[in-house]
Structure formats: C-alpha cells, structure tokens
C-alpha cells in the first residue's frame, strides 16, 4: 500500500488550492483514493492559504495530516511555519522568487525553484503555481504527468481553455526532476 | 320563503371558545365569508398563531396548520412556495406578530410574499392572560405594567401598519376596526382586497384589525367597544396605507 501526503502553503491568490485540487483530480482519474482538505477561515484575500492532499491505493483515513511526504511553500511565513512538517527524508519545495531565506533542516531534500521569475520569463506571471506543480509531480511521481494534462483539459474549458498552452508550458518547465 | 340569514360554509358548526365580547369571532367570520364568496374555501390554506386563535382551525372551515409563536409568516412563505396558486394566509395577534414574530413579518413583507396577513391588534396578550404587548397603549394597565405602561419603561406602542408601509413589496396595507357595523363592513372589504391582491400575485397584503379583549382589559363587552373607539383609534388611525392600483375600487 502506498500513500502520499502533500501539503501546500502560501498566500491567497497564489493558486495554492488549485495545485492541491489538480493533484486530487489527477489521482481520481488514475482510480486512486484521494482527499483534498483546504484550511478554512475568515480571511478571503491576502491571508494564508493552505491545503492538504492525500493520495493512496487504499481508502484514505483522516484527511488531516501532521507530517507530509512533501511540502510546497510559496511564501516566507509558510516556510517558517511548515518546514517542520516535512517528514525526515521528505521533500520541501520552496518558491525562492519570494522566499529569501534557506531551509534550516538537513534531514530533508530541498528543491529551490524561483517560480515567479520563471513564470515572468515564460511571459505569463500567473503560471507560477503550474511551474511548482510540475516540479512536485516530477519529484514525487504522486500522479502521472499525463493525468495532470487530462485534468488541465477538463478544468480549463470555455474561456479558460486558452490558458492551457501557457499552463502546460509552465508545468513542463522543470524537466530535470523527472 | 327567502332566508334573511344563513351560516357561512366558511365556519364549522363548532361553537367558538372565545370570551363574550371578543372580536376574534367576527374576524374569523369575515375571512371565512370572504373566502366562501370568492369560491375559495377549498383553495385556501391558513396558518394559526400562538395566542387565543391557535385553534382557529376548529372554527374556520379551511385547511390550516399551527405555527410556533411568531413564525406564521415564515410558515406561510413555505406553504406558498409549494402551492403558488392557493390562497395562503396567516392570522396573528399582536404579541405573536409585533413582538416575538417581528423578524418573520418584516421579512415576509419585505420579500413581497404573496400571502395575506390578518393582524389582530387588541393591545394585550390574551391567551397568557393580560400581559403588556408591544401594542399596549401608554397608561394602559396590564399584568406586567400594573401602574400603566410608561414610555420611559417600555417605549412607545408599535404601529405595525405604518412600519410595514416602508417596505416596497408590502403592496396592500390597511387598518380597520371591529367596533361598529360600519367599521366591520369596511373591514370585510379590506379582507376581500387583501385576498384579491394575493390572487393577482401583486405582493404582500396586510390588514390590521383593531380588536377587543374585554376579559383582560377588565371591562364589559360594551365598554370594550367604546374603549377601542376612544383609546385605540386615536393612536392607531384607520385607513389605507398602501394600495396597489390593480385592486382600487
């Protein structure tokens, strides 16, 4: 039985929840069990946003976690607060375009990715979260790249369909983690 | 031989349980007769309040349900959603409507619920035996204002018709009185207009019927009629507050 526990944190508007939902959706397409749990609270914009995703071959127990196989942090407060959550030997992905401080722990694997800078280079500042998603999927293999591709086509329809190319390009950017 | 008087089919054969001189019987009958005349007894659904009229369904020959204290306009809103073409009405006293049920009546009126509310205002709680109501007049003695209501202690009595007149979707509002044959005839016309407003789906219709409670006022039935005319009407003026063009006579 294999279970992967993921945690995503950043500020509202960084596409934190979307990353989590896309992984969950992809897991469903692969016939795996999955749960997505957002934090919920009174702040609507600019506040902290985080979510938990569990992907498993067996039914998922509690959707809330205290230790993650991989943690994505998109801003500095999230790094400070959630670095301890990475399990020993686990993975921490840091958005170094915004986070100007290194990770403290040495018992985990750290990937530093300046996702906002990359997004700017790609010509679309909004696709930073897709760059991060691509790195996460390649580094963990929690779901297949193909499943994410299907999710994009199912999620972004109508007006939003024109974003697919930019999103896929961003998602494919970090090939070295394959 | 031509009968000069027959019972309305709108009332059951059960004797009402109201006190002598109480005008609930008159109010029931005006509603019942009106529905009979409109041919709508079988197409009406009423909501009885908490108060002396909680058992109005024993006397009025229409389908009815009871409601928790003050909630009749919410209950009627629910009924009307299921049966948009039936005539749905609430029958509520002043404690029920103007005190505990203030939220429900104001919002039903604001939403323009296509229901009728018949508001029995007798300036006192009847069923619980004579406590101060939100409509109790200044100086009026009740079991919870034993020296007479004062503005300092309890504020001023609420004029519901005037209050609801501020709401755009409360399209028909009239205050009538049940203290004289002429006023009762006028009251019946108001009841009829209220149902016509609903039939035409124009919005919320509200008739305030100034009524008596000789038992809790501590007066005779005759003096109660006089008190209504002398004390209540000056503070609660009769008249039409809102009247849509479609039903103007």
């Amino acid at each position: 039985m294999s279970t992967t526990k993921l945690f995503f944190a950043g500020s509202g508007g960084q596409g934190i929840l979307l990353m989590g939902q896309m992984i969950t959706y992809a897991a469903m397409l692969e016939d795996k069990a999955a749960t997505f749990l957002p934090s919920y609270g009174p702040e609507m914009r600019g506040g902290t946003a985080n979510c938990t995703v569990i992907v498993s071959d067996a039914p998922v127990g509690c959707p809330l976690i205290y230790e993650a196989d991989a943690v994505v942090v998109m801003n500095l407060p999230s790094l400070i607060k959630f670095e301890p959550m990475v399990k020993p030997g686990g993975l921490l992905l840091i958005n170094t375009a915004i986070v100007n401080q290194p990770a403290k722990r040495s018992d985990i694997r750290v990937l530093e990715i300046p996702v906002n800078d990359i997004a700017m280079d790609l010509g679309n500042p909004k696709v930073g979260n897709m760059v991060m998603l691509g790195a996460l999927v390649r580094a963990t293999n929690v779901v297949s790249e193909d499943a994410i591709r299907q999710v994009m086509h199912k999620t972004f329809t109508g007006e939003k369909a024109k974003l697919n190319d930019a999103n896929m390009q961003a998602f494919a950017y970090y090939k070295q983690y394959a | 031989m031509k009968p000069v008087f027959t019972y309305t089919k709108g009332m059951t054969a059960v004797d009402t349980s109201y006190c002598p001189g109480c005008t609930h019987g008159i109010a029931h009958r005006l509603i019942a007769e009106t529905l009979e005349e409109m041919g709508k007894l079988g197409d009406a659904i009423g909501v009885a309040p908490i108060g002396c009229a909680v058992q109005a369904h024993k006397f009025m020959n229409v389908e009815m349900c009871e409601s928790a204290h003050g909630r009749a306009p919410a209950v009627a809103s629910g009924i009307k959603r299921v049966h948009p073409d039936k005539l749905v009405f609430t029958y509520q006293g002043d404690g029920d409507l103007a005190s505990i049920g203030m939220g429900e009546i104001v919002h039903a009126a604001a939403r323009g619920e296509k229901i009728c509310t018949f508001f029995i205002n007798n300036c006192i709680y009847g069923m619980t035996s004579g406590q101060m109501a939100p409509t109790t007049l200044i100086g009026q003695k009740t079991t919870t204002s034993q020296e007479g209501r004062t503005r300092e202690q309890a504020g001023m009595p609420i004029k519901m018709s005037e209050l609801l007149s501020n709401l755009d979707c409360a399209v028909y509002i009239e205050r009538v009185a049940l203290n004289s044959p002429a006023n009762i005839r006028a009251a019946k016309k108001a009841v009829r207009r209220a149902f016509e407003v609903q039939e035409k789906k124009l919005g919320f219709a509200f008739v305030e019927l100034l009524s008596t409670c000789p038992t809790n006022w501590g007066v005779t039935p005759q003096d109660a009629m006089k008190w209504l005319g002398d004390k209540m009407i000056p503070y609660y003026p009769l008249g039409v507050f809102r009247n849509p063009e479609e039903v103007r006579a």
Binding site: Q21, T24, Y25, A27, M28, A33, A34, T35, F36, L37, P38, Y40, G41, P42, V60, G61, C62, P63, L64, Y66 | K9, L41, G42, D43, A44, I45, V47, V54, Q55, H57, N61, V62, E63, M64, C65, E66, S67, A68, R71, A74, V75, A76, S77, G78, I79, R81, V82, H83, K86, G103, E104, V106, H107
Partner: protein, 362 residues
C-alpha cells in the same frame, strides 16, 4: 452507475439533496456550510426547484415546516449555532410528524465557539435540543460518499417515517473534496401528485371539506397529548428495530474496541494499524445511526476485549451511549479533543495503549 467526480463535500451534499428529490431549500449563511445555500441558489431554480434565503435559521426551519406540511420535499442545512436556533422547529416537526431532511455541518462550541470541526452537538442531535419528548432519526457519515448516499436516502426515508431525518456531518466533511459517484436523480414530487402521495399534507380540500386536514402540535387536554406522545413513541420503538446501522471492524477478538463516528472514525482506523504494529489488536464500532443507537453492536464483543474507548470531538457525549451499549461488561474510557482540535492517529494510539497497559497491569 454515474462516473466519478471530484466534489467539495458541501456541494456534494447539496447535489445529493436535489437528486434525492428535495425540491425546496430554505437556509441562512453560516460557516462551514455556506457553499450549500450558494450551490442550491444556483442549481434549484434551474431544475424546477425553489431556493429561499431566510431571514434567520428560525425563519428557515419554519419555512421548511410550512413547505413540508404542504407536501413539499424539503432540505435544510446549517451549522451548530444555527442548528441550535432551529430547535424550536425540530420539536414542532416531530410533534406534527412533518418530514424534513436536515443537515448539520457541525463545528466547535459552546456559544459561537469556532468554525473548525466538532462533535459536541451529539446530545443536541440525539437527545433532542428542543422541548418535549421526541426523536430525530440521526445518521453520521464518515466520508463525502457516505454523506451523499445518506442524504439521498433521507428524502424518502423522512417521508416514510413522517419524521425529520437529521444528518450530523462535520466541518471537515463539508470542506474536503473526495472522488464520489452521484446517484441518479429522482424526479421531484409535482404539486398535483402531493394529495395522492401525502394524504396528510395541506393542499386545500378542493370541493369536499369532509377530508379537511389540520397540521398541529397543540393538545390542550393532557390525556390527548399523552396519547399522541405515546403514538409517536410506538413509531420510535419501531425505528429502533428497523433503522439501527453501524459498521464494525475486527471487534470479535480485539483487545481494545474503539467507538467513533464521522471523521474521528477515520482517525481511529489509522490508530488500529499503529497499534497492530505494536502487537495490540484493536477494533472499531462505527455507529452510522446515532439515533437509534446501535447498542446491539456491543453484544459481539468477545472475552478477549479489555477496554472500550469512545473517541470523539467533545468532552464526552457519545460515551454515554457507549456505556449504555457496554452495560458494565467492559471498562469504558474516553479519548477526545474539543474546540475544533482533532487528535492525531498517533495520539489516539498512544493514549489507547497507555489505558490498555494500565488495565493489564491491574
């Protein structure tokens, strides 16, 4: 079977209510269930149903009572403090035998409490938060899929029993997303068919007043009221025989038996695995019906069991029913968090092991 979709709990609950046949919804915004009125305000009118935002939860429950008394199939939802405000209506619905499906996406209390998940509304749901002798039929789902299935089933079930059916979920189930399959929609009950399907409902008697219907709960004569309550309780007695539901996992030869419902039962399942790795065999009784409570489930416990543990998100409410079910046969202990906190599976397993070892040592 429909295809799998990924849905947020609250939206899935709302969709399940529509598919179950609930044509009418009355509600008021409250966290963590506001996605339900939002979803239904959009979807119900599109599909021939009615959404009405009430002025308060008091308004909502009374609109529900009116619509259901008039024969409509009604869904109502709120969260803990809002459910508290609806208790007047619950008592009314039960006494008048008017069926409504009610969902509590519960949060921590007392008072305004918090907005994180809680189970401290257990007494309110199972003991009756309103006045008088009455019972709600109460189910507690542990997953979004189970909540969908229970809500879908609750619409006909409430009608069959002429009683409110109450679904006690929690904030986590409402906010989380899980892949689910939605059931096929049932057609809405049309106004013209109400009279035949629900002969007790208010529709106006038409031409013949001999069948005039009254929906009421007032009975001024004590003997008449007593007879009415006794009649209700004969129905509840039948419900106790027919509606008890639970799931049990490895309880026959368990050293420790957990009792937990909803989200906590998912934590307990993980704790069972953790304890197994330490050589302690633990099992689980998961009540699905909280009222009627599946007391008989405890009769399956064997000689090997040393301890029964009620695990819950309250200061100890479920444990009262656990003690009634155990009936003195085994020691009963409590593992809990409250205020919106959840215990981890490690925390539950550690505490359970300590309690167990204390008993073994005597």
């Amino acid at each position: 079977m429909t295809e799998k979709v990924l849905m947020k709990g609250n939206e899935a609950f709302a969709e399940a209510a529509i598919r179950g046949g609930a044509r009418f919804y009355f509600g008021y915004p409250i966290t963590p269930q506001s996605e339900i009125p939002e979803y239904l305000s959009r979807e119900l009118p599109r599909r021939g149903g009615t959404f009405l935002q009430a002025e308060s939860e008091l308004g909502a429950v009374n609109m529900a009572y009116g619509a259901a008394a008039a024969g409509g199939d009604v869904f109502l939802s709120s969260s803990s403090p809002g459910i508290a405000l609806m208790q007047e209506g619950m008592s009314f619905l039960c006494s008048s035998e008017v069926p409504v499906v009610i969902l509590n996406v519960s949060r921590g209390g007392p008072g305004i409490g918090g907005i994180q998940p809680g189970q401290a509304d257990y007494f309110q749901a199972t003991r009756g938060g309103g006045n008088g002798d009455y019972k709600l039929i109460v189910f507690a789902p542990a997953s979004v899929q189970e909540a969908i299935d229970l809500i879908y089933e609750a619409v006909p079930l409430a009608n069959a029993w002429q009683n409110p059916v109450f679904i006690l979920a929690d904030g986590i189930l409402g906010q989380m997303m899980e892949p689910v399959r939605l059931p096929e929609p049932r057609p809405f009950l049309e106004e013209k068919d109400i009279r035949a399907k629900k002969p007790w409902a208010l529709t106006g008697y038409g031409g013949d007043d001999s069948g005039r219907r009254i929906v009421k709960s007032l009975r001024m004569q004590p003997d008449e009221l007593e007879a009415h309550v006794e009649k209700l309780f004969r129905k509840y007695e039948r419900a106790q025989k027919e509606l008890c539901r639970y799931e049990s996992v490895g309880i026959e030869d368990a050293d420790i038996v957990f009792v937990a419902f909803g989200t906590v039962s998912r934590i307990a399942r993980e704790s069972i695995d953790l304890l197994a790795a330490q050589g302690i065999k633990a099992g689980l009784i998961r009540p699905i019906s909280l009222w009627p409570f599946p007391y008989a489930a405890f009769d399956a416990l064997g000689k090997k069991t040393k301890l029964v543990i009620s695990a819950e998100l309250s200061m100890g409410q479920l444990i009262e029913d656990v003690k009634l079910g155990v009936n003195g046969r085994y020691p009963v202990a409590l593992i809990h968090r409250t205020g919106g906190m959840l215990p981890t599976s490690v925390e539950v397993a550690d505490k359970a092991r300590q309690l167990y070892q204390d008993i073994i040592k005597g």
